[in-house]
Point group: C2
Chain length 222, copies 2
């Protein structure tokens, strides 16, 4: 466990999180570091997707991961074991990260040496969507076993995300999950949202996800 | 949709939710109505478990369901279609229910005619565990696809629950889920927690869950 750096972050004292998030985004733009915010329910496969992505991003981007959890170092350890630079953020019981909490995490990484930092937010479909972290893009993962009705029940998550990743498509046969309906429901919430279908376990679709990330980073640095 | 009653609840103005929850519990005790709070991540199978439970509880208890969601009437409609009395609570974007929000929902049910009300809380492993709803017992569902490490990451949920229901055991073969480890992790958080393994889809273990509920209601009314 000695390799894992744990940062205990405190909720921001700034009243205006949106303004603070914009300041952080501007600062990261100057450093040419792209911050990507990854959100989902607990157990949708955020860490497994990042593990799969790691192979695809090798040699293409210099990147690191910030794992946010209420407790444990499970995820940061998993990423470090796969050779990805990772830190673990503990939120002190908080259900989300705000921009200043994100900044506290970033201060423990040498961002000037990184093209991309992926923030794996606390597993929660509600609260993280309410707080701008300073990220350039937001991705949400929905896994097949969770059901296709989630955009109906958790509107803000889908409104705030640029990309919806449907994960665990390798088990589509064992669940009642309608791939057309989920896209229809997500577009009802956000007509601009892009959708990719992947299996982090088998690697299906992960190449497309990696291309999406690389393109987003490239576009931002232009 | 005309059958579904939707109640838009507002967050409590009471500063002390714990005291308010105790007041609600005392009042329900006098009416001999047992309030059960059901929590989990989005998509763990709360509604499907209630559907399966409905068959087992028939003729044993007079009961109703309060479905709490940020949006949609999907769940209340599902329960009504199965012949269970159900109301839909909309939380106005809130990620949890407090005791007063629960009271607002209960006021739309004739609780004096009910032995049991099951509150299906907002799908969220973090915030609902922080607020006593006035329930006599708390149950959390963890589904196999979410992974066995959830008690490590979301401590409070497991500390506050009386029963952990492991759902979707019909797909154990397709996921890396260690049934012994999950019990070990849950007991680390709460040595008193009871654990049942079920598949709401196939009905496996639902009889035991129904017995647990019936016994809890009976015990409380003694």
């Amino acid at each position: 466990m000695e390799d894992i750096r744990i940062i205990e972050v405190k909720q921001s004292v700034f009243a205006d999180n949106d303004a603070d998030a914009q300041r952080l985004r501007d600062q990261l733009k100057q450093e040419k570091t792209f911050l990507l915010n990854l959100m989902s329910s607990p157990g949708s496969g955020k860490t497994t997707t990042l593990l799969a992505l790691a192979k695809e991003l090798e040699g293409k981007l210099r990147w690191a991961v910030m794992e946010a959890d209420i407790d444990s170092v499970v995820d940061a350890k998993t990423m470090e074991n796969a050779g990805v630079k990772a830190i673990q953020i503990h939120t002190g019981g908080m259900c989300h990260l705000d921009a200043d909490m994100t900044r506290q995490g970033l201060s423990c990484l040498d961002t000037s040496e990184l093209d991309l930092v992926i923030l794996e937010n606390v597993g929660n479909l509600v609260c993280p969507a309410e707080f701008d972290t300073g990220a350039v893009k937001n991705i949400t993962i929905l896994s097949v076993p969770e059901g296709d009705d989630k955009p109906l029940k958790y509107p803000l998550m889908y409104e705030t995300c640029d990309l919806l990743v449907i994960n665990k498509i390798d088990v589509l046969d064992y669940f009642d999950f309608d791939c057309e309906k989920v896209v229809e429901y997500a577009k009802m919430r956000n007509p601009e949202i892009e959708v990719l279908f992947v299996s982090a376990k088998t690697g299906e679709g992960i190449g497309e996800l990696a291309s999406w990330v690389v393109e987003a980073v490239k576009h931002w640095n232009c």
